[in-house]
Amino acid sequence: MKHVISVLVENKFGSLNRVAAMFSARGFNLESISIGETEDTEISRMTIVTRGEDQIISQVLKQLNRLVDTIKVIDLTRQPHVERELLLMTLKLSKAVQHEIFELITVFKGKVVDIKQKSITIEVIGSPEKINTTIDIFRPYGIKELARSGAVAIHRGE
């Protein structure tokens, strides 16, 4: 099953590489990984989305903990948490479908970030599942390019 793991690491060069390399060396599945500074500039938060049976996930968590640069590892999967991903996507634009596209952008609570004669770039934020659906729905209109941020996740407040 899918797991969302939040990892606090030392904000040092090489930290991301150590984690990514560990996943490939041990043959763990890595669906997405994202990293950014936290409120403490010495610490970065990594959000990892992976899949595996319980025994594998327990190894993933232990192997993450074992890395010296890792400060804290939290499996958010079974805890209340919020998970978001950013999608940037450029679509072909033509008079014929213009209206439909704008309607769909509204449905998905997206935003137009750039618009040209023959293309439109939009942003959508949501759970990775919502992003998947968004891409599926827009695909027939012609996706020129897309970029996904990978999930970021955090505990829900008390």
Partner: protein
Amino acid sequence: MHSSGQTLNGSEIFFECLRREHVEYIFGYPGGSLLKVYETLHDVKDILHILVRHEQGATHMAEGYARATGKPGVVLVTSGPGATNTVTGIANAYMDSSPMVVFTGQVPSSLIGNDAFQEADIVGITRPITKHNFLVKDVRELAITIRKAFFLATTGRPGPVLVDMPKDILNSSCVFDFPETIDIRGFKPTFKCHINQVEKAAQKIAKAKRPLLYIGGGVISAEASEELRTLAIQQNIPVTMTLQGLGAFPGNHPLSMGMLGMHGTYWANQAVNKCDLLIAVGARFDDRVTGKVETFAPQAYKIHNDIDPTNVDKNIKVDLPIVGDAKNFLATLLEVMPEKRENREPWLAEINAWREQCPLTYSKEDDLLRTEFVIDEVSRQTSGNAVVVTDVGQHQMWTSQFYTFLNPRSIITSGGLGTMGFGLPAAIGAAFGIKDRPVVLFCGDGGFMMNVQELVTAVHNKVPVKIFLINNSFLGMVRQWQELFHQEKYSFTDLGDSNPDFVKVAEAFGCKALKAENPESARHAITAALAYNDGPILVDCSVVKKDMVFPMVPAGGSISDMLLARLNPKTMV
């Protein structure tokens, strides 16, 4: 000795830190990026630098020293090729959890990433084979980084740590400050075992009718042999050991069952198969031990104590995981063991029947020299008191079977990585650390050539290692697999036509050498070698060419697949 508060350059800081870490020996090789360090070293008298002849040799020497003494081994090499030559040795130390700190020179900071002369991204290369590694970016970070490196290498599950030091850092200066204590927030190994878990283990042990202790190298690195011995004897529990665990419990004790696994004893493997309780301490259920995991110890409730949580439930699901130091585990267990326990005599009798059914033996009827005889005889003549180093291959497995290890830190061998070429340098390193016991090496004719250059290091430093070259004119272990599993296609394993005259090779290096061709001459040569302490001595033992190591559980097999003799006796000799 300089004191904190003085202004020193990077090279001076380097040696000041090593002093404070009580380093006795550096195994090293100079080069461009380390010129400043070797300039400073010229006047360092209290730390001995051993000049190796290949950087791989330095790493294995450091590991041999570390395994023999329990202290971290220290390596110093230059950037680029010097650094890449250490990779095998680092990987070896990582797999066998040996404490080691490797210092590499690096091109000046300003040139890093430019494909500069002798630049290699050694931090990137060694990330998956070190416990941790560092690139020092500021001379003010050097002392704390070295402190952290030694702390990490020796704390918790030991392992290799690498510190990469750019040339400009070693040349620039700062105020020296050696931190007495350090705190690494991401590194907090669990030493103390959870008491409830230990109590539960004690209950299980007391109630078990057929318990078995399965002991790994973790018991030796935790210095827990004493506790193990007390527990086993008090509870009357038989003890089987992994290759790295040999010596944790005395091999001549009736409760000792020798090694388990692929080339383990028949009775140890049968006991694993039939035990109702398996107590694994400091062992990691390696595939060479378990064979097919589904059929490993099928009837047993499994307790697993290990300092490294990642070892628990990795290869095999256990019933009672106990993370913590082996010494803490065994000592706590002794405190909480209930008064009453099951009678184990029927179980021990069953094991002894297996022992009698298929003992470890070898033919003594002819006048041919066999590896088993050489090892057996060395074991006898040293009274099991030597530090025994091996290379990798058949001779290594026979060493596990025929040398009677009585004490911890008595076997130094490449288990996890299985590195041919490990033996000679590791033996030299061990002999630097241990002066009051003989250091003996059993080495194959294949593996000997992989780091033969270190014979110079042994001769030059008058290191009294006793080298028993087990010369079967074959890459014997590979030949064995070819015979058993690959249709007797002896592809590139016959060294008979190409091996050099090893006595002449040794003599060319200035090493004393003898030849043994039958049991009688071997016996004399062993006596002579053990008496010679003026430097290394090599005994070229011409042994039977096509002998095979048995028992053998084929890779991935179950105990029921265990082979006890060759399939086709015609292939003998």
